[in-house]
C-alpha cells in the first residue's frame, strides 16, 4: 500500500472503524441465527461438522466423562471446557465465542497498526481485509475454532510490542498447547528478543510505518547475547505454561489426550484427498509404512524453507510470521481450507508495508491463488461426487496450487518494504540513535 499518495488523515464517516466493527458484528449475529434456521430446515447444514464434534465432546465433559470418547475430537480439553455452556445455555454459545474472537482479531489488527502509526485510512482498509473477508465471517459463524487461535497469536504480538514479555510468553505457551502449529514462531520470537532491541519491563521503541530506512547495526555474533535474560525468561515461561497445560490434561484424560490432541497432529498422514501435493504419494504407499529416511526427506523442503525465512526476516517479526505460516501450510502433508485462516489474520498486518498495488499485481496474485484452488476443487468434485477416478489430475491440481502459493509468496517478498518491528534503543550516551525522516 503506497504511503506517498494518501490524503490527510481522514476517513469518511461511513468507513469509520466503529461503523465497520458494528456492521461486522451484526453480520455475524445474523449469520449465526440464519445458520440455526438452515440446520433445522435444509438437508445441507450450515454448521461445520467440527462444531458438532466440539459440542458432543463438551457435553461429555460436562457429564464428567472424557471428551476424547467422541471420535475425531482432536483438540485440547480447554476447547471442550469453553463449550460446556453449549449444553447449559444454548447450542450456539460456541459460535458466539468464536465470532467474538473474530471481532477481537479485527480490534487487535487496528491496535497493532496504530502502535506503528499507520494512517487511519490504511488501517481501516487493512481491518476490512479481515472483517469483510467471506472466508473469515463464515468460519466463526459455522462453528470453527480457528478465530480463537488467531486472536491469541495477535495478542502475543501486541504484548511483545508493549514490552509485556511474561504475558506474551504465557499466551504463547497456551496457544502451542491449543494448536501445535504456532511452534514455528518460536525461533523468530526468540531471535527478535535481542537485548539491544527489547528489554522486559520497558516499552520497546517500534519502527513506525513512516520510517523510510531502518537503522539496524551490522550483526556481530556473540554467544553471550544468544542467552539473554529476555530469551531465557520467554523460553522458561512459555515452556512452563505448555508443560503445565499438558500435565493437567494428561492427569485428567491420560493417554487418550496425548494421542488425540498432540501426537495425532505431529504424525498425521492422511491418504484422503486434500490440497497437499503429498496426498497421492501417501495413498499409493499407504499399505507399507514409510521408513525414517523417507519421512526425513519429505520433511526437508519444509524445514529448509522455515529456516531460510526465519534467518532472512526475523527482525520484521510479523512479516516473518506471515511468510512462515503460508509456507508451513503449503508444504504440509495435509492441507485443509481452515488452515488458511492462520495467515489471513496476519495479512492485514503486512499490507501497509507492501509496495504491491492492487492493480494489477495484487489482483493477479489473488486470481492465481483462488483460481488454483477452484481448479483443484473441480477435480475434487469429480472424484468425490461423481465417482470418476481422477486421482492423477487431482494430484496435478495440487502441484499447480503449490506453484501458485510459491509465486504469491515470492511476489510478496519482492514487494515488501522491510521494516523491523523494534527500533534501536536511544541510550543515554547518545549512541544508537534511531534514524527518522
Amino acid at each position: 500500500m503506497s504511503r506517498g499518495s494518501e490524503k490527510p488523515d481522514e476517513s469518511p464517516k461511513w468507513m469509520s472503524f466503529r461503523t465497520l466493527l458494528v456492521s461486522s458484528m451484526l453480520l455475524r449475529v445474523f449469520l449465526i441465527i440464519y445458520g440455526e434456521w438452515q440446520d433445522s430446515h435444509m438437508e445441507v447444514r450450515y454448521t461445520d461438522i467440527d462444531y458438532t464434534v466440539f459440542s458432543d465432546a463438551a457435553s461429555l465433559m460436562a457429564s464428567g466423562e472424557s471428551p476424547y470418547k467422541r471420535t475425531t475430537y482432536r483438540y485440547s480439553p480447554l476447547l471442550a471446557l469453553l463449550l460446556v455452556p453449549n449444553s447449559i445455555f444454548h447450542r450456539s454459545w460456541g459460535k458466539f465465542i468464536f465470532s467474538a474472537s473474530d471481532l477481537l482479531v479485527g480490534l487487535f489488527i487496528r491496535e497493532i497498526l496504530k502502535l506503528r502509526k499507520v494512517s487511519e485510512k490504511v488501517c481501516t482498509v487493512s481491518v476490512m481485509v479481515w472483517l469483510l473477508n467471506p472466508f473469515t465471517f463464515t468460519i466463526g459463524t459455522r462453528g470453527n475454532c480457528e478465530p480463537i487461535v488467531c486472536a491469541m497469536i495477535l495478542w502475543i504480538i501486541l504484548s511483545l510490542m508493549k514490552g509485556n514479555l511474561s504475558q506474551a510468553a504465557f499466551w504463547y505457551g497456551l496457544v502451542v498447547h491449543f494448536r501445535v502449529y504456532p511452534i514455528i514462531y518460536a525461533l523468530p520470537i526468540i531471535l527478535v528478543l535481542d537485548s539491544k532491541l527489547f528489554r522486559s519491563g520497558q516499552k520497546p521503541p517500534l519502527e513506525d510505518w513512516n520510517t523510510l530506512t531502518s537503522s539496524t547495526e551490522k550483526k556481530t555474533f556473540r554467544l553471550k547475547s544468544l542467552f539473554s535474560r529476555e530469551r531465557i525468561m520467554f523460553g522458561l515461561i512459555s515452556g512452563g505454561v505448555f508443560l503445565a497445560c499438558n500435565a493437567v490434561s494428561f492427569y485428567f484424560y491420560g493417554h487418550e489426550f496425548l494421542h488425540e490432541a498432540l501426537l495425532y497432529h505431529l504424525t498425521r498422514t492422511d491418504p484422503r484427498h486434500n490440497f497437499s501435493i503429498y496426498f497421492y504419494h501417501i495413498y499409493l504407499h499407504y499399505e507399507r509404512q514409510f521408513s525414517a529416511v523417507e519421512k526425513l526427506i519429505s520433511f526437508l523442503p519444509q524445514f529448509t524453507v522455515q529456516l531460510a525465512l526465519v534467518f532472512s526476516f526475523s527482525k520484521d517479526l510479523v512479516f516473518c510470521m506471515f511468510l512462515q505460516t503460508v509456507a508451513f501450510v503449503a508444504f504440509n502433508k495435509v492441507i485443509t481450507a481452515q488452515y488458511f485462516v492462520w495467515f489471513y489474520c496476519l495479512l492485514p498486518l503486512i499490507l501497509p508495508w507492501s509496495r504491491m498495488k492492487l492493480k494489477w499485481e495484487g489482483l493477479l496474485c489473488i486470481i492465481l491463488w483462488i483460481g488454483a484452488q477452484t481448479h483443484w476443487l473441480l477435480w475434487g468434485y469429480m472424484l468425490e461426487f461423481k465417482g470418476v477416478n481422477v486421482f492423477l489430475q487431482l494430484w496435478m491440481a495440487s502441484l499447480v496450487f503449490l506453484a501458485a502459493n510459491t509465486f504469491v509468496l515470492v511476489k510478496i517478498i519482492q514487494r515488501h518494504r522491510f521494516s523491523p518491528l523494534f527500533g534501536q534503543y536511544v541510550s543515554s550516551d547518545g549512541k544508537n540513535v534511531k534514524k527518522l525522516d
Binding site: S215, L284, Y286, G387
Partner: protein
C-alpha cells in the same frame, strides 16, 4: 434405553439365528418357507451389541452359533407362528460418487401380530455408515431405531479397517411394504491396476419382532425369522465401483512430488536470500 436395547438385541439375535437356519432355502423363488420358524427371545436392544462383546468377526458360522445360545425364558409362552415370508422387491445402490444410498424394498407376504421389522445389514469391506448421520435420520423418523456395530472408524481406508454392521428397526404399516434407504460412504480402496475397486453387497438378514415396550428392564421380546425371496426382476447382484489409486503411478508420482517440493523450496530460499541481501546493502549504504 437399556431395556429397549435389551429387547431388540434378543429379538435380532433370535431373528439372525433363525435366518441362518433358513439359509439353505432357495432364494430365487418367492413364497416358499420350508421350516418351522423358531422363536427367539432377546433382552438387549440390538443383537449386534451383545454379539460384538464376545465375537470380533462377522463370519456366518460364528453368528449362527451365537444365536443358538439365545433362548427364550420360560415366562415367554411358546407360540407356533405361521411362517412369514418377505420378498426383496428391489435392491440397488443409488447416487453417484463416494456418498450413496443402499435402497431396499421389502414386501411382507403375510400379516403377523409382530409389528417391527429388523434389518441386519452386514456391510462389505470398503464402505461404511456414519453413526451420527443415522442418528439424525432416526430423529427425523426415517427409522424407529438404528445402530452401527463393528468398525465405525470414519477415516481409515478399507485395508486398515474391518467390516461393520447396521441394524435398522422399522415399524410396519398397514400394507406390509417397507422401503429403506441407508446412506453409505466409500472408504479409500486398496490400490490396483484398473483404477476402480468393486464392492459387492449381499442380502440383508430380516426379522420380525414384537413392538418393544419402553422402560421395561430386561423384558424379553419375541422375534421371528423371515425367509427372504427375491422377485424375478431382482436377479443381478448389487455392486458399487469405487475409484482406487493406480499402482503404476507410484514411482513417478513420488519422484515428481519430491522434485516439485524441492523446486518450490529453492525458489523461496533464493527470493529470501536475495531480498535480505538487498536490505543489508541498503543499510550498509546508509551507515
Amino acid at each position: 434405553m437399556g431395556s429397549k436395547r435389551g429387547r431388540s438385541v434378543i429379538a435380532a439375535t433370535f431373528i439372525f439365528f433363525s435366518m441362518s437356519c433358513l439359509n439353505s432355502i432357495s432364494t430365487t423363488q418367492a413364497g416358499t418357507s420350508m421350516l418351522d420358524s423358531d422363536t427367539f427371545c432377546i433382552s438387549d436392544q440390538y443383537i449386534m451389541k451383545s454379539y460384538f462383546t464376545t465375537q470380533s468377526s462377522l463370519k456366518e458360522s460364528e453368528f449362527r452359533n451365537f444365536l443358538r445360545l439365545q433362548q427364550c425364558s420360560e415366562n415367554i409362552p411358546y407360540e407356533k407362528d405361521v411362517p412369514v415370508v418377505a420378498m426383496l422387491q428391489h435392491r440397488e445402490v443409488t447416487g453417484e460418487g463416494s456418498h450413496r444410498h443402499l435402497l431396499t424394498t421389502i414386501k411382507l407376504l403375510r400379516q403377523s401380530h409382530l409389528h417391527e421389522l429388523v434389518i441386519v445389514e452386514r456391510l462389505p469391506l470398503g464402505v461404511f455408515a456414519d453413526p451420527f448421520e443415522l442418528q439424525s435420520l432416526q430423529q427425523r423418523r426415517a427409522f424407529s431405531d438404528v445402530s452401527v456395530f463393528g468398525d465405525t472408524d470414519l477415516e481409515q481406508p478399507s485395508f486398515r479397517s474391518n467390516r461393520s454392521v447396521v441394524e435398522i428397526h422399522v415399524e410396519i404399516n398397514g400394507n406390509g411394504e417397507i422401503s429403506v434407504e441407508l446412506p453409505l460412504h466409500a472408504r479409500y480402496q486398496l490400490i490396483g491396476e484398473s483404477g476402480y475397486s468393486r464392492v459387492e453387497f449381499g442380502e440383508p438378514d430380516l426379522f420380525l419382532c414384537s413392538r418393544h415396550v419402553p422402560n421395561q428392564e430386561h423384558q424379553q421380546r419375541r422375534c421371528l425369522v423371515l425367509s427372504v425371496g427375491r422377485s424375478k426382476t431382482q436377479t443381478r447382484s448389487v455392486v458399487w465401483d469405487i475409484p482406487a489409486g493406480i499402482r503404476s503411478h507410484t514411482e513417478y508420482v513420488s519422484v515428481i512430488t519430491f522434485v516439485a517440493a524441492v523446486l518450490s523450496a529453492f525458489s523461496i530460499l533464493v527470493a529470501s536470500v536475495l531480498s535480505s541481501k538487498v536490505e543489508s546493502c541498503k543499510n550498509t549504504k546508509e551507515l
